[in-house]
């Protein structure tokens, strides 16, 4: 098995090998390495199976293939087809560029390491201090150090902390200076049980994935979620009219009055429909959450056409 240091050194020094298998839960590091490799080759090709890429490499052609990065994600058939001869088959193939296979499950790692130990690297959780160092290098221009430290301490892994940082980069710089640790903890999804505050933050930040996670662990029923949506709209409108200190203030720039109005009307209509028709409340809530991704949020007339 390769060590992460060996692979990192190869990739950062622009001397990548022709075949890698990235295994493990830390997608953030995988993503970093893929970005460096993509920059090195200038192009990235996403392929469905390892077999199809290897066949392409073995095909005789007049004009040779341009070196490129080939990425194959979670190819289960390749894992099941592994045998003692696979490693030699790969080494004998003239690969133009680099093929990177990505896997996550520990059970797959065992088999991959058995047959492809020269190519496999385990990318596990990174130490918190290294996460902070990476975050600082990447985001220190936009995000204050204390916020980065808080994110690196509380996030579940490097990828998660990068996602939170990407999210924070959209915020108004002044609001970012005053963001509370509590708000960051909610963003990194530390609380196990969701209350109204998390739902309100999810709506205000228009963060679909955060909001869905919050709804899935909400302490009350879906009716409570819908009414929280309504009250959040009222609060956003109030904040838009006169800026004041609130947990929603950092996100107020993501809304205009028309969006607040349209979202309120859509939620209101959904509550009425749920009460009178036999429609599934959870699907209706997910639908409403998806509206938050749209800019502008469609009016009720548009959504009921």
């Amino acid at each position: 098995m390769l060590t992460i240091q060996q692979v990192g050194s190869d990739i950062l020094n622009n001397t990548p090998k022709s075949f890698y298998v990235f295994c493990g839960p830390e997608y953030g590091v995988k993503r970093e390495y893929l970005n460096i490799l993509q920059k090195f080759y200038g192009s990235k090709i996403e392929a469905d199976s390892v077999q199809s890429v290897l066949s392409m490499m073995n095909t005789k052609r007049l004009i040779p293939l341009k070196p490129a990065l080939y990425v194959v994600r979670y190819d289960e058939s390749f894992v099941s087809s592994l045998s003692a001869s696979t490693s030699s088959m790969i080494s004998s193939t003239n690969i133009s560029g680099t093929i990177v296979c990505i896997y996550e499950k520990p059970s797959q790692f065992q088999k991959l390491d058995k047959y492809l130990s020269d190519y496999v690297v385990s990318i596990d959780s990174i130490d918190k201090k290294y996460i902070f160092a990476h975050l600082y290098k990447k985001y220190s221009q936009k995000i204050p150090e204390n916020v980065l430290r808080c994110i690196s301490t509380h996030s579940t892994n490097y990828n998660h902390s990068m996602l939170v940082c990407d999210e924070l980069c959209y915020m108004d710089p002044d609001s970012l200076l005053s963001i509370t640790e509590d708000s960051i903890l909610r963003l990194v999804n530390i609380s196990n049980i969701t209350g109204d505050t998390q739902i309100r933050l999810g709506v205000a930040s228009r963060n679909f994935s955060y909001l869905i996670r919050a709804i899935d662990s909400y302490e009350n029923d879906l009716d409570g979620v819908l009414y929280t949506f309504l009250y959040t709209c009222i609060d956003l409108e109030k904040l838009k009219r006169s800026r004041s200190d609130s947990i929603l203030t950092p996100y107020i720039n993501r809304w205009d009055m028309k969006d607040i109005y349209n979202f309120y009307m859509n939620v209101y209509d959904t509550i009425k429909k749920i009460r009178s028709l036999s429609c599934d409340p959870y699907n209706s809530v997910v639908y409403l959450c998806s509206l938050l991704l749209l800019k502008p949020i469609p009016s009720l007339e548009d959504t009921t056409k």
Binding site: Y227, C233, I234, E237, K238, Y261, Y264, I271, K272, R275
Partner: protein
């Protein structure tokens, strides 16, 4: 006193007494005199014990449980059963199929669509319409002639739709009447939806104000067809009881500010 809107209902009550019906549903708008008709039924049937039962499941079950031991004739008035949980209605089913000899039931509701068909099919349904303008005048005069003369030329008079409204108006303080008569102007001073919806549902002293009342005052002074439609929708939503009143108030506020 007999009002025009109750004439046919009173005839139906006579029929119920003649046929010794034990279960009646009286349906009509709020303040149309449904409880008055229920009491009329008791009086004409010589029932002295009249019990008012709330639409809570436990209260309904308790009345039914006690009905087996009634020595004298008892009338249970189940007020606004449509606003209770559907289980309350189903608790009554068995009783309606086999009523005890001494117990009678009058169910009142403003929206009969919220009453299960199984209850409707086992009862005699009496419809009562909203009172006419002359009924309201007659009622107000009989209640307090001086107050009638004081209010009959004011905006507040145009808002009255039911006997209950007359009672409410005559018992209302001058501050509150002033507030309601100027609610459209008050709304103009509200800076955001939150304060606007608060103004629609609270008097100046922050005590609760029924939303339908403030909306009816707005409708009397508003000429904008869009806003009138918003008000009508809001009244329907309040009537359907499917959504919290505070959310309906906020919807009206949003529509007034940003709709149209």
């Amino acid at each position: 006193m007999i009002f025009k809107n109750q004439l046919s209902a009173l005839e139906d009550i006579e029929k119920c007494i003649q046929s010794d019906r034990h279960s009646i549903i009286i349906t009509g708008p709020e303040g149309s005199g449904k409880v008055y008709l229920a009491n009329d039924f008791a009086q004409k049937h010589n029932i002295e014990n009249v019990v008012s039962v709330s639409p809570k499941v436990e209260d309904v079950r308790s009345f039914i449980g006690n009905s087996y031991s009634f020595d004298e004739r008892v009338l249970g008035i189940f007020e606004n059963l449509d606003s209770g949980h559907v289980s309350s209605c189903y608790s009554l089913l068995k009783f309606l199929e086999e009523p005890t000899a001494n117990s009678y039931i009058v169910i009142t509701c403003s929206n009969i669509r919220n009453i299960p068909d199984t209850l409707i099919s086992r009862s005699f349904v009496i419809y009562v319409s909203a009172p006419t303008s002359s009924d309201i005048v007659e009622y107000a005069q009989s209640l307090n002639l001086d107050k009638y003369l004081e209010f009959s030329t004011r905006l507040s008079w145009k808002v009255l739709r039911s006997f209950e409204d007359v009672n409410a108006l005559f018992n209302m303080s001058q501050d509150r009447i002033e507030y309601l008569e100027h609610i459209s102007d008050i709304m103009k001073d509200c800076t955001n939806v939150s304060s606007l919806s608060w103004a629609l549902t609270h008097y100046k002293d922050n005590s609760e104000l029924p939303l339908q009342l403030s909306i009816r005052y707005i409708m009397c002074t508003c000429k904008d067809p869009y806003k009138l439609k918003v008000c009508l929708d809001a009244l329907n939503d309040i009537d359907s009881k499917r959504i919290a009143v505070s959310s309906i108030a906020a919807k009206v506020a949003f529509e007034f500010r940003y709709g149209g």
